[in-house]
């Protein structure tokens, strides 16, 4: 009995792992499938998991939309600029606070 259990254990673990994977990816799979159908199909009742009619042109439409491209540019600009700014500002401060004692050091750490 125990031998059987321990032989089945890797399969059981993998099975549970697969279920967990599906639980976390499931909603996003639904999103992907919703992206591959016309919008009327998304809101139709009763719902179906697979699209009634497949529509692959959606991605092309979005990617070639000039508004989307400008939003994408804004996102990248904001993300990139804030990352660079924070690094430029934080690295000297971190280096200095870690290596040197100075008046107000404790107050600075508290503020951060």
């Amino acid at each position: 009995m125990t031998a059987m259990l321990s032989r089945g254990r890797p399969y059981l673990l993998s099975l549970v792992g697969f279920v967990v994977t599906l639980a976390f990816l499931g909603p996003y799979l639904v999103m992907l499938l919703d992206a591959l159908r016309p919008s009327g199909d998304v809101l139709e009742s009763p719902p179906t998991l697979l699209p009634r009619t497949w529509q692959f042109s959606t991605f092309g439409t979005v990617l070639s939309d000039p508004r989307f491209l400008s939003w994408l540019k804004t996102s990248l600009l904001v993300a990139g600029a804030s990352t660079v700014l924070v690094l430029v500002v934080a690295v000297p401060a971190a280096y200095f606070t870690a290596r040197v004692r100075f008046p107000g050091r404790r107050a600075f750490l508290l503020l951060v």
């Binding site: 890797p10 673990l13 993998s14 549970v16 792992g17 697969f18 967990v20 994977t21 599906l22 976390f24 990816l25 909603p27 996003y28 639904v30 999103m31 919703d34 998304v42 809101l43 139709e44 009742s45 009763p46 719902p47 179906t48 998991l49 700014l85 924070v86 430029v88 500002v89 934080a90 000297p92 401060a93 280096y95 200095f96 606070t97 290596r99 040197v100 004692r101 100075f102 008046p103 107000g104 050091r105 600075f108 503020l111 951060v112």
Partner: protein, 314 residues
């Protein structure tokens, strides 16, 4: 800006290296100046502006008309929906954080096992964290919908429920649905913090426990959980703050319901300024100040309580 507290027990506080450099205030200002300017610009200045706004009287269009004294605060504190909103906030924060912690403990334990498909599972678990909260929340309004939601179809198909449930419209299900989604997006971060905590426990401790004849449950309760304590402290405090401040899930899932029946203090604050009959920026700012004080109080109390337990245990 707020760095997470280091996951190190206080006992191992690093000794100062011999002869640290010393510097004058001016030199320090040179190195810290940019950081200080940024902090003042993005934290201190808005905080002052918030307090100022909370003491001002605004027209519906947002024009400042003058000082309002404490009127905004009394208006918020006497708002008829405040009781419901505060109760919702407590249920929301306690529900999401508790469920997240318990499920993450199991999840992290499972993630540390070796099996085929573990890599894929670890990747999958990161996805809800990487995806924007608004996207996830909007996605769940589609999945949970009464008419065209796939979840109802699935549950009815499996004969788990008799008929479709209005997850987002029925008052009995709205809060549980929001908590469910809240837990879903909080799990990745928490599970990974716990996984790191588990990996930090040296193997010889478990070996010693096995040699001493401890069973699996005993080992878990007496060895794993106490050693996981620092990770649990960090995860719970950060989760309390995140979940309390979480806007997208509560707002998006509750979008179609009128009134404040399922709002937390954060969405309440937003609605006061932009969606309510009041349309009052001042009241909203006052609610914002109350929010900040509230979360600070909660975190301080939490730290006090848990420290106190630690002190009585040892």
């Amino acid at each position: 800006m707020v760095a997470p507290a280091p996951v190190a027990p206080a006992a191992t506080r690093r000794r100062r290296r011999p002869g640290p450099g010393r510097a004058s205030g001016w030199q320090a200002l040179l190195w810290l100046g940019p950081a200080l300017a940024l902090i003042v610009g993005v934290v201190v200045f808005p905080a002052i502006a918030l307090v100022q706004a909370s003491l001002s009287d605004y027209s519906i269009t947002g024009l400042r008309r003058g000082s309002a004294g404490a009127d905004n605060y009394t208006a918020v504190l006497q708002h008829p929906s405040l009781g419901t909103v505060v109760l919702n906030t407590v249920i929301w924060v306690v529900g999401v954080v508790l469920l997240t912690m318990v499920i993450s403990l199991a999840l992290a334990q499972f993630m540390s096992k070796e099996f085929f498909g573990r890599r894929l599972m670890r990747w999958a678990i990161i996805v809800p964290w990487a995806a924007s909260l608004v996207i996830t929340a909007r996605l769940f309004t589609l999945i949970l919908d009464y008419n065209h939601g796939i979840l109802n179809r699935l549950l009815v198909g499996l004969h788990l429920i008799g008929g479709p449930i209005d997850f987002l419209g029925d008052d009995r299900f709205t809060m549980p649905s929001m908590i469910g989604v809240g837990v879903f997006v909080s799990l990745p971060f928490t599970a990974y913090v716990f996984l790191a905590g588990l990996n930090a426990i040296p193997d010889d401790v478990f070996e010693a426990a096995r040699v001493d004849g401890a069973g699996p449950w005993q080992t878990y309760r007496r060895i794993t959980l106490p050693l996981l304590r620092p990770a649990m402290m960090v995860a719970s405090v950060l989760n309390i703050i995140y979940v309390f401040n979480s806007f997208p899930i509560v707002y998006t899932l509750n979008d179609r319901n009128p009134g404040y029946l399922h709002d937390t203090t954060i969405t309440f604050m937003y609605k006061l300024a932009f969606k309510s009959a009041e349309h009052s920026v001042g009241m909203s700012a006052a609610a914002g100040v109350v929010n900040v004080l509230l979360i600070m109080l909660v975190v301080l109390l939490y730290l006090r309580i848990t420290d106190w337990r630690e002190a009585t245990e040892s």
